[in-house]
Symmetry: C2
Subunit: 197 residues, 2 copies
DNA sequence: CCTACCGATCGGTAGG
DNA sequence: CCTACCGATCGGTAGG
């Protein structure tokens, strides 16, 4: 019986986190109130606090869930035997897919993390930095192998990551390109731009 | 005498707008309070209202100042006799330079405009849409002329605009690449990616 | 430009 | 999970 209650409780928290991600994406973390969130979940604001400790804890959970997801994926890519360029492509396709299908959480983790409280803010910044360093290492190795042309690596990473995070506006656009078409176009432009002829 | 007072008054408003742009960039529009702004300007919060009507008016002025600047530049580019690819390059270089040297205003206009009040919000969205359509027309003409390779134009525009707006994180990075180097790298990757071989 | 203050709303708590 | 409520802070105004 206790286990079932725990089970329901966890799922209730997930409902809150999902609603919060959508709300923070729509209005921004600061502009979204706990009363807004409560209305979206279908309870009174005070009732939320039976499932979460604070507003900032919700933001923390969203950001670190995404960070873990991305780090885990990078682990897989690094241990694969694919070529460097293929590894970069795998990373980009993963990110594009997350941006398309896990939109709200990814957006919040990407744009609203600045409102995290210390020490989590610093931790989060370190995680982001490490992720970029790992991607940098893959591209650098590809250049050494003559697979990837001799681009300025930090500039290339900037362009790739921001081009993908820009997909957020695709979700809001009226004339939506098909997700698969969008993915292929982005991969085509970015990966072709890196390939050594 | 009246003219001098008007002059001082305008300049005081500009001081407030500049301080507000920096503040909204640091903390976000919603998280930045009028008391924060007053402190930055060096007056009491109530005194700000002798120069501006409301917080939302400040955001409006910042966003529409930038929008006008960008539209005016696009006017110049359109009437020039340069090749299509060169026109795209000119637009990108202008945007990169604005992002580097007019950082706070551009950032706010790019990321915080969602908090504009109607009807200005809709007007602003239309301005952005028109700007993209004009850039689309330049690229499309370049493809017809065999200057630019046959990319998917909306995807290419997305990548370019978001790659550039991503420069915002460059400003916060510890190991700053030289601005000129950053500009050349971005132009090199993006324009080379468009050029028909 | 300031002091004094307003109604509204915020995140969160007490107690049941 | 709710009612009732808290202290803090918000954007903005009155009056000088």
């Amino acid at each position: 019986m206790a286990r079932i209650i725990t089970g329901n409780d966890l799922s209730r928290k997930d409902v809150i986190l999902n609603a919060a991600a959508a709300l923070f994406r729509e209005k921004g973390y600061k502009a979204a109130s706990m009363r807004d969130l409560a209305e979206k979940v279908g309870v009174e604001a005070a009732s939320l606090y039976n499932h979460i400790r604070s507003k900032t804890e919700i933001l923390h959970d969203i950001c670190f869930n995404i960070a873990t997801l991305y780090s885990d994926h990078m682990d897989q890519v690094e241990t694969s035997t694919a070529s460097s360029l293929k590894k970069v492509e795998t990373v980009l396709r993963f990110q594009i897919n997350q941006m398309i299908h896990n939109y709200a959480e990814v957006y919040v983790a990407d744009r609203e993390w600045q409102y995290l409280a210390e020490p989590h803010l610093s931790t989060y910044q370190n995680i982001r930095h490490t992720y970029r360093k790992r991607l940098n290492a893959i591209i650098t190795r590809g250049i050494e192998n003559n697979e990837i042309k001799e681009v300025n690596v930090p500039s290339a990473i900037w362009i790739m990551l921001h081009a993908i995070s820009g997909i957020e506006s695709w979700h809001r656009s009226k004339t939506k390109v098909d997700p698969a078409v969008l993915e292929e176009n982005i991969i085509s432009i970015l990966i072709d731009g890196l390939r050594k002829n």
